[in-house]
């Protein structure tokens, strides 16, 4: 096991023994070993001079870090409801059978492990899997059979068919952001001509609001950071696109990386930041090489580094940090914790990141799309940007459309577009339910399709999942509840316990043992989660249940077997062992399920 220690030590040295790099060090160590044996953690703790518990705490937090050995081929099926609708469960069973491995286990020879993971952001080309962290799309029976053979033969990933790893952009509708050519540096030049204050003023006039879901004013955020005390400001790009059903940031990073990085540089120009960090979700690791190449080109072109575009005192560069499978890290303060090499536990706000962010420094955290949009403002001016969209939601919005429609993919619409219009464009023939904004979003029923995508009406970070008449809204909500229970960071009791209880109730109903009383308990839990949780994860976890209970109540009621109470387990079956042990079968050795209270 000296090998493990050596690999760990090398990763620590590569990151200059910087404790804030702990997560990156753990990811690299695992890349070298396959998992994180205790010796490696001990060695990392020694070298970083951190408590052993802190290192183990971080290693245990992220679902892509493994304390126990996993298969040489580690296969994770994206488990969003959309992947399931495309047949992911059946394909996973098939692969498990072919590889002779149970879900969540390692095969006898150690060659493969198969499990599920939260949405990998490939809803428009699923079912999707991750193989050793790399995305494989458009899975079908033929691909599963072939993958099973490749795994059995021990074929290195580099020799697998390249088309398996091909990820399409599927851009279906282009507006100003996706439609226009972009010359790197042009937006930056335009903003620098206006001066830092003039540039901030343009952003203010644009009315730009955050595209990550919360919709906070970008100009207010930038001004607050610009005015905050402290010279060492930071710009963070939140590319931890974990909301189930969302993939527009993936497409932007793949096709518009220049705009995204230029947007970060524009934020640096506005705030005076010198350091930039892009937090890339682990699921999008395949984009890392491309993004680093774009950064190198920009450095060579004088768009990053010291004296950007010859401007004395304008120094700014960007690093990329990898996530490791934790939805909660998309919350900006959890993301900052993760960037600092800690568990992704959301912080208490205030203080806000603009004054106390990354390592306590004033920090701007913006979504990928928000940053890309700032290039439009620089090039066309704030007023032109504000000319599209609605009064309180200016500009365009990228939607990630998936589910029961003919043309899933990314669509760019001016804010204010109706849901009915979007449904028609994407070729949804029998839409019954649309889940806007992902698992934490809003469930829209047919009678609401006239509603508009805008912060004033139906806000969204971009997910737009379509369900037709064959689908069951209850199963959709149950899938999301499982997702939240899995992704709860465990820090606060209302969320950690509440999401687990909610999952238990939904499973009880699904197994046909529901009672009226359970609906009352579910509603009580919904309120508790909403009001008592530490962060947005817990407070939005009951959203799909609250909405479907209001709009699709019969989907719940038809699962009820009793109006009063019904145990979640079979009482008579619970006596079976004792019956066997005693050889009894008299009436007293049974509990009649019909004898309700």
């Amino acid at each position: 096991m000296q090998d493990a220690e050596r690999i760990a030590a090398r990763a620590v040295e590569r990151h200059r023994r910087e404790p804030s790099q702990l997560l990156q060090i753990l990811i690299e160590t695992q890349d070298g070993i396959g998992h994180l044996p205790v010796e490696s953690l001990t060695r990392i703790a020694e070298l970083l001079d951190l408590p052993r518990s802190r290192v183990e705490g971080v290693a245990g937090f992220y679902s892509f870090l493994y304390a126990e050995p996993v298969g040489r081929y580690r296969i994770l099926f994206s488990d969003n409801i959309i992947d399931r609708m495309l047949g992911s469960r059946e394909l996973m069973e098939r692969l498990c059978r072919r590889l002779d491995v149970a879900p969540g286990q390692v095969s006898a020879g150690g060659e493969a492990s198969v499990d599920t993971t939260s949405c990998t952001g490939m809803g428009d080309q699923g079912p999707a899997i991750l193989v050793n962290g790399l995305a494989v799309t458009r899975l079908d029976e033929a691909r599963v059979e072939r993958i099973a053979s490749l795994v059995a033969a021990g074929t290195p990933l580099a020799e697998w068919p390249a088309e398996y790893f091909h990820v399409d952009d599927n851009i279906r509708r282009r507006g100003v952001l996706l439609g226009e050519d972009f010359v790197p540096g042009a937006a930056l030049q335009a903003a620098m001509v206006r001066g830092r204050h003039g540039w901030l003023e343009e952003v203010r006039m644009s009315g730009l609001r955050g595209r990550g879901g919360a919709g906070f004013s970008t100009a207010v955020k930038w001004m607050a950071c610009s005015e905050a005390a402290g010279a060492d400001k930071v710009v963070v790009c939140n590319a931890d696109e974990g909301e189930p059903g969302t993939f527009k940031d993936r497409v932007l990073l793949a096709s518009q990386a220049e705009r995204v990085f230029e947007g970060m540089t524009l934020a640096a120009w506005a705030t005076g930041a010198r350091q930039g960090l892009l937090y890339l979700r682990g699921e999008y690791r395949y984009l890392l090489k491309h993004l680093r190449a774009v950064l190198a080109v920009r450095r060579a072109a004088g768009l990053l580094g010291a004296r950007i575009l010859g401007e004395g005192g304008f120094d700014f560069d960007i690093d990329i940090h990898l996530g490791a499978g934790a939805y909660v890290c998309g919350e900006e303060t959890a993301l900052l914790e993760s960037l600092e090499g800690k568990r992704g536990t959301p912080r208490i706000r205030p203080p806000f990141p603009v004054t106390h962010g990354y390592l306590g420094r004033p920090t701007v955290v913006n979504n990928v799309e928000t940053l890309a949009k700032t290039t439009l403002i620089a090039l066309q001016g704030g007023a032109a940007f504000a000319a599209t969209g609605t009064a309180q939601s200016t500009g365009t919005k990228l939607l990630s459309i998936s589910g029961d429609c003919a043309y899933p993919g990314v669509y760019e619409y001016p804010f204010g577009v109706t849901i009915a219009h979007v449904l028609e464009d994407c070729g949804a023939h029998d839409p019954q339910v649309v889940q806007v904004g992902g698992a934490s979003g809003v469930t829209i029923a047919g009678h609401e399709f006239h509603r508009r995508i805008a912060f004033e009406d139906v806000p969204t970070a971009g997910a737009f999942m379509v369900f037709d008449g064959r689908r069951d809204p209850f199963e959709m909500a149950r899938n999301f509840v499982h997702f939240f229970a899995h992704e709860s960071c465990g820090f606060c009791t209302p969320c950690r316990v509440g999401t687990a209880l909610l999952k238990g109730y939904m499973d009880k109903l699904a197994s046909g043992k529901g009672a009226k009383m359970d609906l009352a308990d579910i509603e009580w839990l919904d309120r508790l989660l909403k009001n008592a949780s530490h962060c947005g994860l817990g407070s939005s976890a009951p959203n799909p249940v609250i909405d479907t209970l209001v709009k699709f109540r019969p989907a719940y009621e038809r699962r009820l077997v009793s109006l009063d109470f019904k145990p979640a387990f079979d009482l008579d079956a619970a006596l079976e062992t004792a019956r066997r042990m005693t050889g009894r079968d008299d009436p007293a050795a049974h509990l009649d399920w019909r004898e309700e209270v």
Partner: protein, 184 residues
């Protein structure tokens, strides 16, 4: 609590399922307030009265979790008869100490105790129909019937039970605040 002569007294039933009677001891720990309670309360089935079956009641207090078939029958009888059913103490709420066997296989447990144990010559798992069969796991009572209120504690103090009952009888939603609300 006022002397309510002429008013029908509140009927209360109590029982211990898979419990240690510690919660009942706590009930007695109200000391002289028991006399005051007795003015407004009438006990139905309870270890205090030795009544064997529960009749229609206002309040049922359940100590202990559900570990065997008899516990299920008793609990159902209480639920059928009591307008308000209260889980009293850690075992009723979480399964408590008896639920420690949930980590073990029941078959192994019975084998170990009645067949394999040192000193047993002609062992055998008791099979008399008089004995209630064990469930494979110990359950908190709310997993078997609907429960209206929960008083945590191992056991809840006499003060907590007093506060809870006087609230309930007085028509106030029972509320245990610190320091009465405790889980140890």
């Amino acid at each position: 609590m006022s002397d309510s002569i002429g008013m029908p007294r509140v009927r209360v039933a109590t029982t211990s399922l898979a419990g240690c009677f510690g919660c009942h001891m706590s009930l007695l720990d109200m000391d002289e307030r028991l006399l005051e309670l007795a003015k407004v309360v009438e006990f139905d089935r309870s270890p205090l009265t030795d009544i064997k079956h529960c009749g229609p009641c206002d309040i049922g207090l359940i100590e202990g979790g559900v570990c065997n078939a008899e516990n299920v029958h008793v609990l159902r009888e209480f639920r059928r008869n009591c307008k308000t059913l209260v889980a009293v103490g850690a075992c009723a709420i979480n399964g408590g100490l008896p639920a420690q066997r949930n980590h073990l296989d029941l078959g192994d447990c019975l084998q170990q105790v009645y067949v394999k144990r040192d000193g047993i010559e002609e062992g055998g798992v008791p099979d008399d129909p008089e004995l209630p069969l064990l469930l494979d796991r110990v359950h908190p009572i709310h997993e078997v019937v609907r429960v209206d209120y929960f008083i945590p504690g191992c056991p809840p103090s006499g003060d907590a039970i007093w506060k809870f009952l006087t609230d309930l009888i007085g028509g106030r939603t029972p509320r245990l605040a610190h320091p009465l609300l405790r889980f140890d």
